[in-house]
Amino acid sequence: MPKVKLNGKEIEVKPGTMLIDAFKQAGEDIAHYCYHPGLPTAGVCRLCMVEIEGNPRMQIACNTVVTEGMSARNNSDKVKEAVRWGLNFHLINHPLDCPICDQAGECGLQDQYMKFGKYTPEMSEQKVKKRKVVSLGERVVLDSERCILCSRCVRFTSEITKTNELGIFNRGDHAEIGTFEDKPLNNNYSMNTVDICPVGALTSKDFRFRQRVWYLKDASSICTGCSTGCKIRVYYNEEGLFRIKPEHNPEVNGYWMCDKGRDIYKHVNPEARLQEARWGQVGNWQVKDIAEALREAGEAIRASVRDSHHSKVALVLTGQQTLEELTAAVKFFLSDLNSRDIYHWINNPEEMEKFDGLLFRGDRNPNTKGLLSLLASEKVSATWAQLEGKLNSHEIETLMVVGPEDPGVFPDLAAKLKLFAKAKRLVWLSSARVAAVDQVTTATWQIPLKSFFEKDGTLVNAQGRKQTLRKIATLIPAAVSVDQAVAVMSGREKAVPMGKFELNWKKTNFFVGERGSL
């Protein structure tokens, strides 16, 4: 472990650490744009200048490996001057776009100017004009005038996705990023280029102009878009959820996440949600108090068991809920009802094992591994064919289905609902509002569930890693988690703790300057 002295602070770092990382580790501010720990070094922004003892020339910290006894500083006047001028050079051709730029508030140029810049601009000549509002496919918008040519996005597409869409064309101060002939940047990881863009050159079409970033609060969570389980950061305010960005987790996703995962906030927002408990069937739905609905549903299930000497109930589970919820549901059937009719609904069997080699998996349930191991440990071996047989022969009286959080990844949803409708009564628990459920012809209770945003729990990803989900806020007051629901259904509890709409942070300035590094 080499010991280094940075700005007089002595710290110990891992061998092979880059000096810039050592500075960050020491808690010292160091300006930079082009350096990104997840990408190969480019060394082109020339901002992370440091003075290394024994070297008369200033060096860039992002291309210097620490050595034992190295002593470096970046708080000398010489370095400060270099950084100030480095920023000056970055800004002379940068447009004064901040009022309409989505990046404003979390912009590298703004943050670092406030930290290291603060000079009087002296450029009085015309700026170089470049192209603005160039659409690059479905998700990304390019403004090459704002670009500072740090080449992060180019390195991302050439080294991480290896799709090579983006390049820097022309040379000198006319250099521009772009794709060949504005071809769309439609790979499944394109939005990472927006994340790593330190300025507003690449912006997200989905998020564009919807909120100013300082109005957004953020919290850490786990992506439920597929079984990889990337660590994410959710951005929200009183108007709902607005975007999702990846957070660094070296064990799972590194610095990245896929574009599909970024859409999961859409089915958390109230407009996509089942807002209250309902009872009825097609054409005749009644809104019910959640506790009452649960009590009724529970009685119906228990009645089906009581009335018959062999089980007339069945439970259908998906890999979309947390381990705790699934366990509660399974325990309810095994111990309370003494039924082993528990089935795993596999939404896309032919794609379950697919993997794109980077992050995205064909199994689009966050907790399939957890569900499988739970069923295996409880020695539940019922197959889907058995359920189909029982339903077709109308053997099942009450069917309880813990449905999907994201109906979009269940292509067989309508077909499966037709099958479920063969039961006499259906208890449908789901966080999503599914139009097909409203068409069900059998007596149905619709119980609103909580989304991943609103509950604590454990998810087991495809690697078998247990990851903890933390509750961030409540959006739907009536929604319950499966374990809360089961507690009432089994008769152990009389009521559920009613949630309160908690997404009531005022849209004030959360001063994102402190939100994090670039």
Binding site: P99, I100, A104, K127, R210, W214
Partner: protein, 174 residues
């Protein structure tokens, strides 16, 4: 050094205070009765006081030369507003040179404290505080000013031109 004059014994009696107050009222009543010209109050609404030209009253959204709204929906005014009375919804403009513009810009004038911070925060001279101050209305909704009212109300005679012009800015290479 400040000198504190402790109240004397006489001022602890309330009667002299009441009498001197009543005397003042009586004095002005008599004066106003006989010399109406010197009366400082106005008979509003028959008479209206003329404020100075720099008076900061009701908001105006300025317009560009082509009559479209100058505001770029940067939300700096809304962010800066201590009363949180401005709400803006931005949208993407079909004109690429404009890029972003507000489809909703509302000021809840009942919450407004007329501090002028919005005007100060605006980077493009899009919101100004004008000379009007009569904000009477019949119901709650008439105190919520929308774009139509803020930019194009009849008093503004077609809109106030913003000092910041995009064409000029492009010419100077900003």
């Amino acid at each position: 050094m400040s000198i504190v004059n402790k109240p004397g014994a006489i001022s602890t009696w309330y009667l002299p205070g009441i009498l001197s107050g009543l005397w003042l009222t009586l004095k002005y009543m008599i004066r106003n009765l006989f010399d109406k010209k010197k009366m400082p109050t106005l008979n509003y609404p028959e008479e209206v006081y003329q404020y100075g030209p720099r008076f900061k009253g009701n908001h105006i959204l300025t317009v560009k030369k082509d009559g479209s709204i100058r505001c770029t929906a940067c939300m700096l005014c809304a962010t800066n507003c201590p009363a949180q009375c401005i709400s803006i919804v931005a949208a993407e403009s079909a004109d690429q040179r404009v890029e972003k513009y507000p489809i909703k810009y509302e000021i809840d004038i009942l919450r407004c404290v007329f501090c002028g911070y919005c005007e100060e925060a605006c980077p493009v001279d899009a919101v100004r505080m004008g000379p009007e101050w009569q904000t009477a209305g019949l119901n709650g909704s008439s105190f919520s000013y929308d774009i139509q009212h803020l930019a194009y109300r009849p008093q503004l005679k077609g809109g106030i031109l913003s000092r910041v012009d995009d064409e000029e800015r492009h010419k100077f290479g900003i």
